[in-house]
């Protein structure tokens, strides 16, 4: 049981990077971005290819840059070509499938067994296998939270938040909306790719279909986190996305452990979690309205 909990905690930290990326587009920029499915696999593939070649650290960096580039493409489609935001994401994601296959060398999966990874490097510092997995994922995710929390207080960060919060205001101010959107999408997908990159080295293999449904997983993390933390400042939002990701992995581990549902039902369960969370405010409003009407009829 404790092995299961520790494993979920580690996975939760790795997928938290995905949650951070989704938080940036979904909550800060206020645009649901579907590029994530593709950029997650891109990060995974790039990291795996570099790791096999013996450069695990460079693999992480290259994955972040590649993810950022993918996000920038979606941004360019949205702003310069005025393609609908949802469709822009789908187009990039679809195109990335080919690129991801190319990166993996026309194979659908790649094993990293025997290669040096971030985690084996940490073991060389004297950490046990499990501790190295926990510490490395904690370090990467912790650094990203600090970095993003600082970034969204800089001038550029304020511009991104304002763009998502009141587009009317931004249009009448001297902020370059197009540039801001492209930057935010690049940062978000850089984060998502980082998540895939760390995961590849964590689990020791890369698979072309790893990214399917990642947008929904990211959304689930963000929303579960908000159940605990509410929606307050950006820094709290970032921390809540990380917490949400860890809780999400615990829920799934428990459900699998108790054979509550089979492993292949994961995606459906994730989708249902997100639907319920998004529906709660609307259903609450409708129930109130219904109660008001009933009240009014009684007094009529």
């Amino acid at each position: 049981m404790s092995a299961l909990l520790i494993g979920s905690f580690q996975l939760g930290l790795v997928y938290a990077l995905l949650g951070l990326g989704v938080y940036i587009t979904f909550r800060i920029l206020n645009i649901p971005d579907l590029t994530a499915d593709g950029s997650f696999t891109l990060g995974l593939a790039v990291s795996a290819a570099f790791t096999v070649a013996g450069h695990p650290l460079w693999g992480i960096l290259a994955a972040v840059l590649a993810g950022g580039a993918a996000g920038a493409v979606t941004g360019l489609l949205q702003t310069k070509l005025e393609i609908h935001p949802i469709l822009s994401g789908i187009l990039t994601m679809s195109g990335l499938y080919t690129i991801n296959l190319m990166v993996l060398g026309s194979r659908s999966n790649l094993s990293l067994i025997g290669s040096e990874t971030l985690f084996t490097l940490a073991e060389k510092l004297g950490l046990s296998k499990d501790l190295s997995k926990t510490m490395v994922s904690l370090l990467v995710t912790g650094c990203m939270v600090l970095l993003l929390s600082w970034f969204f207080k800089t001038h550029l960060g304020l511009c991104i938040r304002a763009t998502g919060n009141n587009s009317d205001m931004v249009r009448a101010s001297s902020i370059n909306v197009e540039g801001v959107k492209i930057t935010a999408l690049a940062i978000s997908n850089g984060c998502v790719a980082l998540s895939g990159a760390v995961l590849a080295q964590y689990q020791g293999f890369a698979d072309i279909s790893s990214g399917v449904g990642m947008v929904v997983v990211g959304l689930a993390s963000v929303i579960i986190g908000e159940v605990f933390f509410g929606r307050r400042s950006v820094t709290i939002g970032l921390i809540s996305a990380v917490a949400g990701s860890i809780v999400y992995r615990f829920i799934i581990a428990l459900a699998l452990k108790t054979s509550f549902f089979p492993a292949f039902a994961l995606k459906l369960v994730s989708a249902v979690i997100v639907i319920i969370a998004l529906a709660v405010p609307t259903l609450g409003r409708k129930r109130n309205l219904h109660r008001l009407k009933k009240e009014a009829r009684r007094h009529a």
Partner: protein, 265 residues
């Protein structure tokens, strides 16, 4: 300061809904002038502001501001030298961001993209600028703007529009959506800032009394043209009744707008 030559704008040309919003309009503003603009609905007041602000480009004509030709300048680049306020107090501020963050965005990016958004010096500067409003906003810099009243938000927007000393300030009925007390307060703050910073200002209003009392010059628009332009002694001696009489003679028809007649100052 501002020079508009032969400005033309037609909406939906070639359709049954064709509407000539600006018709060969010429206007020159001296530095520090405060012009109030009146006219009936559809006279072209807001179209004129949108053309100056860059919401759309003119069909023909030229606009220069402070010696710079801005006819084809992108909207966000014009925004750096033109401050704008709209009727809706929700439009000018980001509700989920704090007062100081909103003000920091408005004060421009001359300090670099990756510098801290709000520095200690900024906070002092913002508090000092907010204090004369008498709204207590200077003590609430970390409050989210969404929690403020309409009047407070519009006063904040006014400060945001003027904090980087724009070459031109455009006020589009910026007190019309506020309750009378808040409207008077925001108007008072407007006069204070415009006079103190000697800002070249254009203000659209539906209140003729206020149009004659505020600023240094009054123009009346009709059918996309300026049909009346008064200042100095002529303006000082003008009355609301006199202005409506002039409108009848020059524009044809009544300047019959319930809002104009019923609004008390």
């Amino acid at each position: 300061m501002l020079e508009i030559q032969n400005a033309c704008k037609t909406f939906l040309p070639g359709t049954v809904n064709e509407h000539v919003a600006l018709d060969r309009l010429d206007l020159t503003l001296e530095e520090g002038e405060f012009v109030t603009i009146i006219g009936s609905n559809g006279a072209g007041k807001s179209t004129l502001f949108n053309a100056i602000g860059g919401t759309f480009l003119l069909d023909a004509g030229r606009i220069t501001l402070g010696g710079q030709d801005i006819t084809f300048l992108a909207e966000h680049k014009r925004a750096a030298i033109i401050g704008r306020l709209f009727q809706d107090p929700m439009k000018g501020t980001a509700p989920d961001m704090t007062i100081e963050e909103n003000l920091a965005l408005a004060s421009g990016r001359s300090r670099g993209l990756f510098r801290k958004g709000v520095s200690k010096a900024d906070q002092d500067r913002f508090a000092e600028a907010l204090a004369p409003f008498g709204m207590g906003l200077e003590d609430r810099l970390k409050t989210k703007v969404g929690l403020l009243s309409g009047g407070q938000r519009q006063a904040l927007t006014l400060l945001m529009s003027t904090i980087s000393h724009p070459k031109l300030l455009l006020l589009d009925e910026h007190t019309a959506a506020l309750d009378p007390a808040a409207a008077e307060k925001v108007m008072h703050i407007t006069r204070h800032i415009v006079t103190r910073d000697r800002l070249t200002t254009m203000m659209i209003t539906h209140n003729i009394q206020s149009a004659l009392k505020t600023g240094t010059r009054t123009i009346m628009l009709e059918g996309g043209r300026i049909i009346l332009d008064i200042q100095g002694k002529e303006r000082d001696e003008m009355t609301v009744a006199g202005l409506m009489e002039l409108y009848r003679r020059k524009g044809g028809g009544e300047l019959a707008n319930d809002r104009m007649l019923l609004t008390k100052d």
